[in-house]
């Protein structure tokens, strides 16, 4: 049971407050980008390439310009005049806004049609005639480094191959020596599939440039409005859009999951067109464009190895990665971390030797590598370590739960330094796994499995005990395009004791309007219902790097607590003045200061705030507001223990997830209802790549499932009934002891499911299957083992 320090009426931390933002959403009064309608607004549609790799010979816009309502057709040649045809990616690579001569992936933007209505823009799009000269694309990342492969980025001076960068961590020599001498070494090659965030709202914007005021207001689906404002000023400052002339507004966002961090060409084209014509321009992509052209996630090919002793002690790991970035590195990682936080791949286990290396390559696929509900490549890392740990347990003949218990970092060993240098802040991995095992009576399940195996039935139990690394991050290491990854909160309390607080983050469904209010309620005793929360408007909110990588609570949530504590310090001074006692004579309980030993002599926070405006001590600054920019001293390390039970039909190979228990430890909990909701949602986004989702390309670079007809986002039928629970190990360095939770389930679920399915198939000698694991994949694997006739 979570203990609350505040009453339900105040609604501080630990209360399952119903969400403040829901009122508008359940009544159809949300305000998403596509709901923005401005006078004289034009609509933009985009012509896209049918080829993965081709020269553009000619773009004929004559017929398109004849379409009633079409105002303009913009090509790369038009943008080139303003030097806006290329833009930087967040990883300091470069990306075309519109091409001048070559297209690099199927569905790449080729031209933009601007018209007075949505339908006219689409008609115009159909009338643009583009002549291409197709070339043989590079699709397989393993072949991209062949000497015979064409050099895709010939735009880069001196580029002679398709290699982007090489990254390493750990100790190669020590690790190689260990693997040569260890008693047991296991190895698997695994692919973490290319997938898409597929938030139900696609991306879009309304760019509203006023020639009169030389000012741009950009309504936009962005998770990081301030960073976008700075990027716009950096890219378009030379044409007069300096930072004070740009206002970015992220209205309600229909799911982000990392897919709304990057700057897509459509945004830039809309700004350019609005700048040129002086009218608002709306661009809303459709679902197929979203799946086919917006940043993908994952797509890591990993060779994972583990070395250990015969009795199950893990001694070391080795990971070799090939990262397919498509035609440009458009990841959204902190600058110094090209593989994000992959180096968390050493996992939850106590050993000291590891080496990991990654090579990134270009191919003729859409750019990306975004952190899809994942703190920068943690999903890939966790899949690799949790799969190879199961493989190791199988090799040494140990139960995977026992083997994990044997190797966990012990509770008393935190803070713990990982072999790649991270300082894990806290954790209790044994307690989490034990709780998950108790929840579904693990030993009984193993007995049942043995009985079923004897009868030839396929039942599997899979475990994942992951450690996350979130809340980027400390400014000494973390920046995006040079901007340090702090975040901010500003609290203004009005004379009547009600407040508004503003943040540099941006909710996309996480419930910030409720949880931030709860943090402030906890610290100041002002009821959460009396605290309005505002995000997403760069003209009003303090600067921050936005919401992704489970960073809102670790950074902006901390900023809220500290800003509120600054106000509480001021409140103490005012209370002492009002009560005519010394500050040391006062005690605080949520909502009031009272005199020690005389609780009837008290001033409520509302009385104190009123005095700050009406009767403040002379010499003290009037008013009652505070701002804090929080630079975290360390990252936070949420963890979890997930167990999945599957039954597989021996004839059809259909997989049924019978039970899935998720025990999460995200430190102190602000709102249990919202935390649980985050876990539910992330689990469904975890089963998605484990069993259903993958963006598939043929050898010509055609996407084979670029619509919702064939990209299988789980429905309520595919999604199991999740069972959730928690343990609480507060973060010792975070002001409210919280760690962040949004991404744990997406990260932790896929290996639990994969491990369960493989566990069901171990009697046939199957030790690994790549996700998504489909019935057909199981059928083929069993066929190879002679179970089915070929």
């Amino acid at each position: 049971m979570i203990q609350c320090k505040t009453s339900k009426a105040i609604g501080g931390m630990g209360h399952s407050l119903k969400r403040k933002e829901d009122a508008r959403f359940i009544q159809g009064k949300g305000n998403y980008v596509d709901d923005v309608k401005l006078p004289g607004m034009l609509y933009m549609d985009i012509v896209r390439s049918p080829y993965a790799y081709a020269k553009i010979k000619k773009i004929n816009i004559e017929e398109a310009m004849k379409v009633p309502g079409v105002v303009a057709v913009v090509t790369g040649r038009d943008l080139e005049k303003y030097n806006l045809h290329w833009m930087p990616t967040l990883m300091s690579d470069t990306q075309m806004v519109l091409p001048t001569d070559t297209v690099m992936y199927q569905s790449q933007e080729v031209a933009a049609v601007i018209a007075t209505t949505k339908y006219a823009a689409r008609d115009g799009r159909e009338a643009v005639i583009v002549e291409y000269e197709p070339m043989k694309p590079v699709i397989d990342p393993f072949k991209s480094l062949d000497p015979s492969a064409p050099v895709l980025r010939s735009d880069k001076e001196g580029k002679t191959d398709n290699h982007i960068w090489n990254w390493k961590a750990g100790d190669k020599e020590k690790t190689d020596t260990l693997f040569e001498t260890a008693d047991v070494v296991v190895k698997e090659q695994m692919h973490i599939p290319r997938i898409h965030v597929a938030s139900i709202e696609t991306c879009g914007c309304v760019a509203d440039y006023s020639k009169v005021n030389n000012h741009l207001t950009m309504y936009m689906t962005t998770q990081a409005p301030h960073a976008i404002r700075t990027v716009i000023a950096l890219v378009a400052g030379h044409v007069g859009l300096t930072e004070e002339k740009v206002r970015v507004i992220a209205p309600d966002i229909g799911g982000g999951f990392g897919g709304k961090v990057p700057v897509y060409p459509g945004y830039v084209i809309a700004i350019a067109v609005s700048f040129l014509v002086g009218k608002p321009v709306k661009w809303i992509e459709d679902r197929s464009e979203n799946l086919q052209a917006d940043s993908f996630a994952r797509d890591y090919h990993i060779t994972a190895e583990m070395a250990g002793t015969k009795d199950g002690k893990i001694l070391g790991t080795r990971f070799k990665i090939l990262a397919d970035h498509g035609y440009t590195d458009a990841s959204a990682n902190p600058s110094k971390f090209p593989t994000g936080m992959f180096s968390i791949a050493t996992g939850s286990y106590d050993y000291g030797t590891t080496y990991m290396e990654c090579d990134a390559v270009y191919t003729n696929k859409p750019p990306g590598g975004v952190a899809y509900r994942c703190s920068f490549r943690v999903t890939e890392a966790v899949h690799a370590i949790e799969r190879i740990t199961d493989r190791f347990a199988f090799e040494v003949g140990k139960d995977p739960a026992d083997l994990r218990m044997q190797n966990f970092i012990k509770k008393e060993d935190f803070p713990w330094k990982s072999p790649t240098g991270w300082i894990y802040d806290s954790g209790d991995y044994h307690a989490g796994l034990q709780k998950a095992m108790d929840a579904l009576n693990y030993d009984e399940l193993r007995r049942e499995q043995a009985e079923k195996r004897a009868k030839g039935e396929l039942m599997g139990i899979g475990i994942s005990t992951f450690t996350e690394i979130v809340g980027a991050g400390p400014s000494k290491d973390f920046d995006i395009l040079g901007i340090k990854m702090f975040d901010s909160a500003e609290i203004r309390v009005h004379p009547t004791g009600k407040a508004i607080a503003r943040f540099g983050t941006k909710s996309q469904g996480q419930g910030h309007e409720t949880t931030y209010a709860q943090i402030i309620a906890e610290e100041l005793g002002i009821p959460a219902e009396n605290i309005a929360i505002e995000e997403g408007d760069t003209d009003t909110a303090p600067y921050g790097l936005g919401t992704y990588a489970s960073r809102s609570t670790p950074t902006a949530g901390a900023a809220a607590a500290i800003a509120a504590r600054k106000l509480r310090d001021k409140a103490r001074k005012i209370a002492a003045y009002l009560l005519e006692v010394s500050e040391d004579d006062l005690e605080w309980e949520p909502g009031k200061f009272f005199v020690k030993g005389a609780p009837e002599k008290a001033k409520t926070i509302q009385e104190i705030v009123f005095a700050a405006y009406t009767n403040h001590p002379q010499g003290m600054e009037a008013g009652f507001e505070a701002t804090h920019y929080y630079d975290p001293p360390n990252l936070t390390f949420p963890s979890g223990a997930y167990i999945c039970v599957v039954d597989i039909d021996r004839e059809t190979c259909e997989i049924k997830v019978r039970r899935f228990v998720a025990i999460d430890d995200c430190g102190n909990i602000i709102n249990p209802m919202i935390v649980q909701g985050q876990v539910h949602g992330g689990l469904t986004q975890g089963i998605a790549p484990a069993m259903y989702e993958e963006l598939i390309y043929d050898e010509s670079g055609n996407i084979l499932n670029g619509t919702f007809m064939d990209y299988l986002v789980p429905t309520a039928v595919e999604s199991p009934s999740w069972e959730t629970g928690h343990t609480v190990t507060p973060s010792p360095h975070h002001p409210i002891g919280a760690k962040g939770v949004g991404e744990s389930p997406t990260v932790g679920a896929p290996p639990a499911i994969a491990n369960a399915i493989v566990d069901a198939l171990t009697p046939f000698g199957i030790t690994h299957l790549d996700i998504p694991i489909t019935p057909f994949k199981i059928f083929k694997a069993l066929q190879e083992k002679g179970v089915f006739a070929s």
């Binding site: 009544q27 139900i200 919202i674 992330g682 309520a716």
Partner: protein, 168 residues
């Protein structure tokens, strides 16, 4: 060649001059400026645009505005009077945390209106199949199921189940 149609939307009668190809969802969003009905895909897969057409839940991206001629439409805005009281499903979604980003919510609720009209006491499995034409990317569906069960109880005049999270 435009066509004149007569439609009743949330009780209000409209005579509209529309292109024959105009999708019903665009009529609602663009012509009538009622933006509670959303668009999440281009293949009739996601259900974000679900409304009631003569009481039946349909995906309004798959129907032409001209096909609604002479018919009655209910959108999320028409489910309850502005300022309340809310429809039991609206209340159920809020009480049970059946929404995160809110984008699929109007379509999901409108689908469930018809679902509960057919059967006001559905099993979990009936609810899951019943909403399988509506995608939600945020909630994992657990709490949507709870929200529908809660609303069903309320509509049956029974005590509503606890809304405390089963987060042990």
């Amino acid at each position: 060649m435009n066509k004149t149609i007569n439609v009743t939307v949330n009780g209000a009668k409209h005579t509209l001059d529309v292109e024959p190809r105009l999708l019903l969802v665009h009529m609602i969003r663009e012509v009538l400026s009622m933006t509670g009905t959303h668009i999440g895909c281009d293949t009739s897969s996601c259900g974000a645009c679900t409304i009631l057409l003569d009481g039946k839940s349909i995906k309004s991206c798959t129907v032409l505005a001209v096909q609604a001629d002479g018919k009655s439409i209910t959108t999320i805005e028409g489910l309850a009077p502005e300022g309340g009281p809310l429809h039991p499903l609206q209340e159920g979604f809020k009480e049970n945390h059946g929404l995160h980003c809110g984008f699929c919510t109007p379509g999901m609720i409108m689908r469930c209106v018809e679902l509960l009209e057919h059967n006001n006491n559905p099993t979990e499995e009936e609810i899951r199949w019943g909403i399988s034409g509506n995608l939600c990317r945020c909630t994992g569906y657990n709490n949507i199921v709870k929200a529908v069960q809660w609303a069903g109880a309320k509509m049956r005049g029974e005590e509503t189940p606890s809304t405390e999270p089963e987060f042990v």
